[in-house]
Assembly symmetry: C2
Homo-oligomer: 425 residues x 2
């Protein structure tokens, strides 16, 4: 008999997302969720030890004396959600800019009124680590209450060596303190800071010669990301930065083809980046090359929605091309002020025509692949962490269909119940 300290039984749907193990899901696989009806799961010391039909539970699993037993009749259980693209760490807020943009103010007028990314850079540079941690913890609490258990978080509002280090240290400390797992990305090339406006090449040099070696030496970042866009960093600059980052031991991600077609998708394929993100303007060739190179597309429909870009990434074409798709919030104060993965999944379905099953694959196993955590999280399989979510809904489709409300009834992280009835314990 298998011994267990956590048992979940009777789930109307136990969404395992089990399947192909060696690579992210693509094409039709994205619609296959490995659902067990009347499903059960057992865990011990935070690790999944058994998954199967409830009727086989008692003959396979023995509850330890102090075991917690969650009855999930009428509920849906799925893997804890993974949010693979956030700008979690920042000070200040930009609701003023939100109202100005609605009034049709230009980017320059907004910047003149104290808005834009430089507003967040200034506030974040001035904030101490404790303040940044306190603010991020509030966002992490919201994420957890909405079912997210693993989060990628980027630097990129510091744009000096010291401020970028500060941001990555904050992310490291938040992850160590838990309960959420945070994956660290260095994004010194998020914007050219105002003090380098006249000489952006000098800032690129600073990123390459000072910041990246320091991040590499300290092991502060697993990934390096670049905002490759007209007026931000060119393809050439982005390649230089990313090659230096690879040399320093980091894996690569790219903000690619968000506002214009820069050939970012093709660059991501050429560099064998782990992910290319946004992709609203990615061309067919670039998408095909991503498929061949195994680059994951991280789609961020919340940003297209929030900025009312009147255009979304071509999710159906990207899936049809065989590119594995992940979804993320892009949580940040300027272009997507939400921590909610469920709302992103609804946007993916309603605005990009992804099916609920595809949106769930994109927010669990493929998102885990997108942050390199696929061996630990993203599916409910023996040997993985017991990170899971219980919904007050009889099937997985409700998570995408019933929007703007929180259907999460419980969140389990590493085998521990952290949220019950939607509230942090």
């Amino acid at each position: 008999m298998i011994q267990a300290d956590l048992i979940i039984s009777g789930a109307s749907e136990l969404v395992t997302v089990a399947g192909e193990r060696g690579r992210p899901r693509r094409g039709q696989e994205m619609g296959e969720l490995g659902i067990i009806r009347q499903g059960a799961l057992a865990a011990r010391r935070g690790q999944i030890v058994w998954v199967g039909p409830t009727e086989e539970l008692t003959s396979a699993v023995q509850a330890m004396a102090f075991a917690k037993h969650i009855k999930a009749e009428g509920k849906t259980v799925l893997p804890g959600l993974v949010d693979p693209h956030t700008h979690l760490i920042f000070a200040g807020s930009r609701e003023n800019e939100f109202a100005l943009r609605i009034q049709g103010k230009s980017y320059m007028e907004i910047a003149a009124a104290g808005g834009g990314i430089n507003a967040t850079v200034n506030a974040t540079r001035q904030a101490g680590k404790d303040e940044l941690k306190r603010l991020a913890q509030r966002s992490l609490d919201r994420m957890l209450s909405l079912g997210t258990t693993t989060v990628e978080a980027k630097s990129g509002y510091g744009l000096t060596l010291a401020a970028e280090l500060k941001m990555l240290e904050v992310i490291r400390e938040l992850s160590a303190e838990g309960p959420l797992t945070l994956v660290r990305t260095f994004m010194g090339a998020h914007a050219v800071p105002s003090e380098y406006r006249e000489n952006p090449e000098a800032y690129v040099d600073l990123v390459i010669t000072r910041m990246i070696p320091e991040m590499g030496a300290r092991g502060l970042a697993r990934f390096c990301d670049v905002f490759c866009e007209q007026g931000v960093f060119s393809v050439e600059q982005s390649e230089h930065i990313l090659q230096a980052a690879r040399h320093a031991g980091m894996e690569l991600r790219i903000h690619a083809d968000e506002l214009t077609d820069q050939g970012g998708a093709a660059m991501a394929a050429r560099l064998r980046a782990r992910t290319a993100d946004h992709l609203l303007f990615a061309n067919d060739d670039g998408i095909r090359q991503m498929a061949e190179a195994g680059v994951i597309a991280v789609l961020l429909p919340g940003t297209a929605y929030f900025l009312n870009l009147q255009r979304y990434a071509r999710a159906r074409d990207i899936i049809a091309a065989g590119v594995p798709v992940a979804l993320a919030t892009d949580f940040n104060p300027g272009s997507c002020m939400t921590e909610s993965m469920p709302l992103i999944m609804n946007l993916a379905c309603t605005q990009m025509r992804m099916l609920p099953a595809e949106a769930i694959t994109a927010s669990t196993i493929n998102a885990a692949w997108a942050v390199g955590e696929q061996d630990r999280v993203g599916s409910l399989e023996v040997g993985k962490q017991a990170d899971l979510v219980m919904l007050d809904a009889p099937n997985h489709e409700h998570l995408c269909y019933h929007f703007g409300v929180n259907l999460v009834e419980a969140v389990i992280k590493n085998g521990k119940a952290l949220v019950e009835r939607g509230q942090r314990r």
Copy 2:
């Protein structure tokens, strides 16, 4: 000294929405929120007795021995939200149809697969009153936790005299049991039921000669609503039904110009309806006539979003024409499965370019006008009900800007705290 049993003090913003009393807000008035910084409010026996700056509170108001005192430092306090268009009462759900629509299935294919409005009509006809109440109570709990304190609710999934009566009785009982206030609308003309498909005129006759007199005699509905649309009820049929309803003592609302331009806006003006709702295809003449007749436009951006209609009502033109605008969820299982007014406000801002202040006016005082409750709710003024919401945010803009999460920290209804830290007590 004014005696009070409820005191709220120190609000970073106390959003009174006080202003013109004799008519709903229009044009520039929609952007004026009557904000008191460092604001305070006092209530007694559920009624607001004082509103003003916190520094004047102690010299004007005396707390009674058992008074509750809420300290709102750093928080925003605003009137309880009013949702003036919902199809709250139904059985069954239509997540299956949601996935089929994403796959591009036609309305006929969806109906053949058991979807469409007839699926909800069948389930609602079969459900008992207790079942319908239990289901609606769950939705009302979600609404309350998101800040809504007054809700309009329609019949229209019965489409027989008995089933329409059942729905309106359920709404009446839910309102009597509280805590939310429900306003009842008879909508027998929501669809032609399948048993009348070959003879829709006979169904119109049934509505006019049997249902409306019965509703009128029993006083079960304050409003009558009609779905005036190509293939549903024509302008001529709608006018006959609405004139009968007025004769029976009901006020009028109209689902107008949602999917095609039927001249619904002009009809609403001609009939002096209280509201015309949806209006995606309303023409300029109709909008001008609504302004002259004082008809309120109830806009439902959640539906345009959920159905991905690629078009929203022209809120800016409607406001510019002098039509008072209200916002509502349109909560229903087929075309808008959300109970969240805050998300609707975010949609109004991002997709229809309404300003946060306009969205708040549209969800409070103008929404109260839209359901005829303007003398009781919709603003924080002496003599009105103490229905209010406290947000975990320093200003009102956050309610529209920070989306997909629940910023509501407390909800007070009739002077009683019903929700604290986002959870029903």
